[in-house]
Assembly symmetry: C2
């Protein structure tokens, strides 16, 4: 039952925000009493934290694990970016990128929910930056640009694609930003370095 | 009085989202009755639309008008991007970029509020794209990349800067993305083309 409530809470939060998840509506939609829902989570805040843990698990399975069979550096980075865009493309969450949505929702507030969002996003950006460092040390990416800057650019391309997709229903947005990612990851790299990034 | 209520509503919406603006809290914080606040706006939805109109006005004054004295093309585009980052830097809204926040908040819903957000953002992205087209036709930017793609990249850099700034309190984020914007706008342009973009 906990899993059913949680899955429904993730769906609702994806479109209405984490604050849009109310115990009352949730109880109605899974056919339980409010006390029954609260019995599983204790409080609205604990439910919000459980939703974030669930989203983090989905993100890990969909994206991070897709890169484990790739060597560190540019290959793993490319696989991650591909999986990241596929995750937007496949509408894993009805409201688009969950982490982007909750980061905009909670960035102006303090508390454990914000702290969890910060932890999830900073872990991901650090993982990207680590692979960029490896790629730069191996000469797969030129190191005239800071690795943190490149990680932030990749994150920006994904956020931009997500926004145009969700807000304008623009299907071409993902394709354009896939191209930007490919161009970013091959920028300044000698042609001789064929690292398996599919062109076009 | 309408202006006072509206200014307070913009502040609240900037950190708590447009749905976080409640007539009751607003009435308390400006020292009016709920009926008094409703008398000025009619409904919560009309208040939300009035907030968006106000935000759009601030965005126009802070950013779009900063480029009117520049010639169309790369110079206007550069000025706009500079003003866009300065607008984040100066914390015009306590919750960071207002348009990014409400687009994440409303992208999963239908209705007049979402439609207004779509209109504001698509007008801005089109304006960027128009200047990129002019710059490409004038040879100030190479035209091997689609103008829509470049506009989306610039938007992504700003979103990424805003996210790291708001969520991690990372002051260096704006500087890194300023650099990305400069690099993007000088990419593939022969050195001879000095168009007045300050370096570093």
């Amino acid at each position: 039952m906990r899993e059913t409530i949680l899955a429904q809470a993730v769906r609702v939060a994806s479109t209405n925000g984490l604050e849009g998840v109310t115990i009352g509506h949730l109880a109605t939609s899974v056919g339980m009493s409010k006390a029954g829902v609260l019995g599983h989570f204790g409080s609205k805040q604990n439910l919000q934290l459980a939703v974030l843990d669930e989203v983090s698990k989905i993100f890990t399975v969909s994206i991070i694990e897709s890169g484990v069979d790739q060597p560190p550096g540019l290959r793993r980075l490319s696989r991650w970016c591909e999986a990241w865009m596929n995750y937007l493309d496949s509408d894993v969450f009805p409201g688009g990128c969950f982490v982007t949505a909750v980061s905009a929702e909670f960035d102006g507030r303090l508390g454990p929910v914000r702290d969890r969002v910060v932890a999830i996003l900073s872990t991901w950006l650090s993982a990207l930056q680590d692979e960029i460092d490896v790629a730069q040390e191996a000469g797969e990416l030129s190191n005239d640009v800071d690795s943190k800057q490149i990680a932030m650019e990749l994150n920006g391309f994904v956020m931009s694609a997500n926004q145009s997709r969700q807000l304008f229903g623009d299907k071409s947005a993902l394709e354009l930003m896939r191209r930007s990612i490919r161009e970013r990851l091959t920028l300044h790299v000698p042609v001789a370095h064929d690292v398996g990034i599919p062109s076009q």
